[in-house]
């Protein structure tokens, strides 16, 4: 490769500079890249901050036996109870204000617990209420267990959330940064104008890839530093493995962005397609809550999504301290998506 004007190295350098200038001169992209993930982690970090466990609310239906039940439950440190009429108690249960309704039975009639067994909190309430009432009526414990309470850094919600937000950020910058700007270049006929020069098309596409990789270097560290300073979120595994996962993830979503915008010259259409592609991953890939909550039958599909792989990989490194060897499956899933989408995008790409 010669160094004179017109050599490919110079053309690629100019194309890369062109993309970088558009990036840092556009205040909107700066916000979505840096401001949005930080704002999101502040808000969610506050909402889900570690605090004293709440007492579980229960309702006791008023009848002749209710004062006795109410008196026993009031002694429990885990429960808060109130006495109310039958109708009001039913409404409180349906609307989630209480986890359980107790209909006291006058001895020898038994107490009745009303609750929804699909609500974990309700099942917990049933166990706690039953335990408290049984003991209150004189049941003896077979033994007294000792409790050790811990709140370890690494097991908090914010530790779970930060890798998820980083993954989400990589997805949206890839989709929007590449997909949307390509569609705009096509609408404004800039793409057609570039193709009318001797510019090599592969250089043009390569510049997008190079710029994504360069931007990762500037977009990731501020988020990690911020999470560490604000919430003491640490990276337990190696930074090398983290950088590798972020790089593979960033390029995978860049390739998907390329595919989403490979034909359309209508930015609205492309933004619709980006939303359609993002939405399932936004919900299912475990950004905000563990994807293992979905039924087993869906798990293979969910685990095959690129964002699931990216978020799982980031979490494995940041939370569980895994190295590169521990995230090979995730790297593999992302690489398949990235290479497949890139190959398809090149075949389908409309240059005019």
């Amino acid at each position: 490769m010669s160094e004179g004007p017109g050599s490919r190295a110079i053309a690629i350098r100019e194309l890369v500079l062109f993309r970088l200038r558009l990036f840092y001169r556009e205040p909107g992209t700066m916000f979505w890249t840096f401001g949005f993930p930080m704002a999101m982690s502040i808000v969610l970090g506050i909402a889900f901050r570690t605090q004293e466990p709440d007492r579980i609310p229960c309702a006791v239906v008023r009848n002749e036996a209710s004062p006795r039940v109410e008196e026993i439950l009031r002694r429990s440190p885990d429960l808060s109870s109130e006495v109310s009429e039958e109708g009001a108690a039913g409404v409180a249960l349906r609307t989630g204000k209480v986890a359980l309704v107790i209909v006291p039975g006058a001895p020898p009639a038994p107490h009745t617990y009303r609750y929804d067994a699909t609500r974990p909190e309700s099942r917990l309430a049933r166990a706690l209420v039953d335990d408290a009432l049984q003991r209150g009526e004189g049941r003896a414990d077979a033994f007294a267990a000792r409790s050790e309470l811990t709140t370890e850094v690494g097991s908090r919600y914010i530790d779970f959330l930060v890798p998820g937000l980083i993954g989400l950020g990589l997805m949206s910058t890839g989709f929007w940064g590449i997909g949307f700007s390509l569609a705009e270049m096509r609408t404004k006929r800039l793409l057609k104008r570039l193709v009318a020069t001797p510019m090599r098309r592969s250089d043009f596409l390569l510049s997008f890839v190079v710029v994504r990789a360069l931007l990762l270097l500037v977009e990731l560290p501020p988020l990690l530093v911020f999470a560490r300073l604000a919430f003491s979120v640490k990276v337990h595994g190696s930074y090398g493995a983290l950088a590798l996962i972020a790089l593979v993830g960033g390029l995978t979503f860049a390739a998907m962005g390329l595919l989403l915008a490979c034909r359309s010259d209508n930015p609205q259409m492309v933004s619709g397609m980006i939303n359609i592609a993002s939405f399932p991953m936004y919900l299912c890939s475990g950004v905000f809550f563990a994807s293992s909550r979905f039924p087993d039958a869906l798990q293979p599909a969910i685990r095959a999504l690129p964002l699931t792989a990216l978020v799982d990989g980031l979490r494995a490194v940041m939370v569980e301290g895994a190295g590169t060897a521990g995230v090979l499956r995730e790297l593999g899933v992302m690489t398949c998506w990235g290479v497949g989408c890139f190959a398809l995008a090149i075949r389908l790409f409309r240059w005019r």
């Binding site: 004007p5 194309l15 001169r25 009318a196 020069t197 510019m199």
Partner: protein, 309 residues
Amino acid sequence: MQAEAVRCRGLTKRYGEDTLAVDGLDLDVRRGECFGLLGPNGAGKTTTVEILEGLLEPSGGDVLVLGRRWDADERYLRDRIGLSLQQTYLPDKLTVSEILQLFRSFFSEGRGVEETIALVALEEKARARYETLSGGQRQRLAVACALVSDPELLFLDEPTTGLDPQSRRMLWDVVLAYKANGGSVVLTTHYMDEAERLCDRVGVMDHGKMIALGTPEVLIDSLGGRQIVELSLDEGADVDAASFLPIDGVHSARILHGRVTLTVEQLHVALPAVLSALDASGQKLTNLSTHRATLEDVFVNLTGRALRE
């Protein structure tokens, strides 16, 4: 011997089943000449130029640019032609010199960015972002992007549409300077004054066909007279174009939108004769104007329609 800048035979472009945008066009553009494609919107000018630029595939016919074919020698040709599209938005956030630097980097040879900026008189705007430029400055930058490679052949698709008169003249100067240095130009326009000012030869297109070809002078002479008289008569008057033909000095007569258009050789002979003829027949004039014949009149004469209808 150098090949012609452009040579095409039987050029056809079909869109879908029943739209024939270009219909069997023959065209030669010589080296060092400025050739103008004229015609109303939808005549097929842009389609023709984009085929010559290698941006559209023709449906039929043979196209040679600088003696080569697009399918065999695309890189060779891309490196040697410069062009500006009918509409291009360059990136808003880049400056004039950054945009030219980008375009320059694609070509193996060319001129310096500063030299190119001077060529289109944008020195004061070299560090200004594209979004701050006026329409005329944007258009000059678009032409600068075409000139930065110092091309052998320049394509300009409606370079001055929508510009103010001063910006148009500045662009004309740029094109004339390029031509003076031996460059060949193909431009499309629907401004007849632009064609008369810039072009050595013009081809008039309508409905995908070339309906006239020649130097602007020859085409205007083909009208048979160099002066045009336009007159309107009282409403309701029954006018017959043929009734003007026997008048001394009138070469042709036609009626368009209720106005009578006469082509005459010598205004001082024909005009008094026309007026006295009208007087004799008792018809009352409501409007009268005269001008030197232009390519616009040539188009009206050929098609019976005005250019920008």
